[in-house]
């Protein structure tokens, strides 16, 4: 009994960890720039492919993948913001949705063209493979309890990423500018801050986090051209449930959803729609989401 509850809890956290990594960037970009990025899932997809390629390349390896993929995605994010998104700040939200939706299709189809439509095998590194005998560390567990090591690493990476991002936002000047910019970017401009420059960095940062998600999450999920879209809908729901533009909300919502899926796993009919049910309930009874600020995109 203790064991199964513990394992469900752990699985819930681990599922939540992936959602956090994908939706955090989405929430960050929406909260600061007010842009709904339908191509965010595609960024995850790109990162997962890059992870496969770099980790298996002769010149590469897993260590290289972990370092390079987020950096490349950061660059990609900068390129995307400067080359495309910034022209859409003044256009209606629906246009932003449409153009990023178009970009998502182009990326997805481009990768399908180059890599084929099939799932690419994405092996975990030696140091992250195998299982972890949890009962050896946690005395309250009864008998033999093991968990795939990589999933534990993924959960840890996710938590560390969240911690680092929050520290960046809370304790640095850059973070102060971003937090203030989320609330009133025009006033910041009037105080001499070139906020668009910083927002470009924020956008790239959001995409880079999707990069982390891709390289660490890829071995757990699949690596195929459609994977981005598979994760896009739930991560949007995470952002909506948590409250548009609220990062703590996104984290909270991710874990709630992860746990809900994990604990309903024995009832497949429910497990597949639990995310939607939660989203509908939240939106009916608390339209601004769990931790959404009053008046922000309500």
């Amino acid at each position: 009994m203790v064991n199964s509850i513990f394992l469900q809890l752990l699985t819930g956290l681990q599922l939540g960890a992936i959602y956090v990594l994908i939706s955090l960037g989405l929430a960050l970009i929406f909260g600061t720039l007010g842009v709904v990025n339908f191509a965010h899932g595609a960024m995850f997809m790109v990162a997962a492919y890059l992870g496969v390629v770099i980790s298996q390349a002769e010149w590469g390896g897993w260590g290289m993948a972990i370092v390079l993929v987020p950096i490349i995605l950061f660059g990609l994010g900068l390129l995307m913001e400067r080359g495309l998104i910034r022209f859409f700040y003044t256009r209606p939200h629906t246009d932003q949705i449409l153009v990023t939706f178009g970009l998502a299709i182009v990326l997805q189809e481009g990768f399908k063209w180059y890599f084929g439509a099939n799932n690419l095998p994405f092996a975990t590194p030696d140091w992250g493979s195998g299982i972890m005998r949890l009962h050896e560390y946690l005395p309250f567990l009864e008998g033999f309890v093991a968990y795939p090591k990589w999933r534990l690493i993924l959960t840890a990476v996710s938590l560390i990423t969240v911690a680092l991002l929050f520290a960046l936002l809370q304790f640095t000047t850059f973070g102060l500018v971003v937090r203030a910019g989320m609330r009133d970017s025009e006033m910041l401009r009037l105080l001499g801050v070139n906020i668009s420059q910083r927002f470009a960095i924020v956008f790239a940062l959001g995409v880079a986090i999707a990069g982390i998600a891709g390289v660490f999450g890829g071995p757990v999920t699949q690596v195929d051209p459609g994977i981005g879209m598979v994760f896009l809908v739930p991560s949007f729901l995470v952002v909506v449930i948590g409250g548009m533009g609220s990062l703590p909300g996104a984290v909270l919502a991710s874990f709630i959803i992860g746990l809900a899926i994990s604990f309903t796993a024995t009832i497949p009919a429910l497990a597949n729609i639990i995310v939607y049910l939660i989203a509908i309930l939240i939106l009916l009874f608390r339209p601004r989401g769990l931790l959404g600020q009053k008046g922000v995109m309500e």
């Binding site: 629906t94 939706f101 299709i105 182009v106 879209m229």
Partner: protein, 324 residues
Amino acid sequence: MISDNASFYKKDILPVTTFAVVLLTMPFWFRYIGGYSGLDTKIVIWIIFAIGFDILLGYMGFLSFGHAAFFGTSAYFTGLMLLHYSNNILPAITVGVISAIIMAFIIGFLTLKRTGIYFSILTLAFGEMLHSMVLSTLQDWTGGDNGLTGLPTPMLFDIKMQGDNVFYLTVIVAIVMYYIARRIIGSPFGLMLKAIKSNQVRLEYTGVHVARYKLMGFVISAVYAGVAGALMIVYEPYVASEFMGWHLSGQVVIMTVLGGVGTLFGPMLGAAFMLYFENVVSVYLGAQWLLVLGAIFMATVIFLPGGFVEAGSRIKKALTGGGK
């Protein structure tokens, strides 16, 4: 636009007749531009879908990313009726469309309170919820991943619904529904829908029950999706689970935007273009046709927010401007 003497319906005759003539003569000319029999039927079905979508997006200003929910619901109910009740398409289509209407009332009630991106994301979520229900929760009825197979040949009383018969049926339905759409857009009801897009607050302060108009506009748009979904099953008696998926929702978004929102004519053009592109032009492009289409779509959103219709009027302007 309302003219002085309020004779705003006479204007419908010419476009509807043209539309009818173009569609009815399709079997005679379509093959000369690389089309084949069957594709024309599919184009007409998608045209119906796109007309309804434009009422919602182009006139009312709501971008739904979950319209597959209505297309799919209707398709499934039509399929189930054919399978379990009777192979006559009349009761099947009726039940299919009614199911889409009921679904639209539920989803519309829950999503229309929000506007803009919220509405888009919510409709996407509802659509995907139904999709995953079809795949898992309800798979005993829907056939899950395999879809609904083994449907009998649809009949309209004694007439087998195959080939040309299906084509002419869909064309007649399309003409009627295009005419109705024009009437709706030209009516006071349509004026209210446009007013919602223009200034919802002012409309409320003019004493108009905006929420009811929005719901009705949404349901009307779902009726078009439902009719299209039902006709798709008559055309090809097999219900694919993709009929419920976001891909289908995305497709109708793409064709409507490509053609030019808020014009009725544009989305029809967009639907025809997209299917022609997918089935005829793709032969030259290979598997990358969707990549090219995605790029065309992006370019349209960036440079031509008014779609083909805007392109047309720009060209016309340039030509008449140059002719001076």
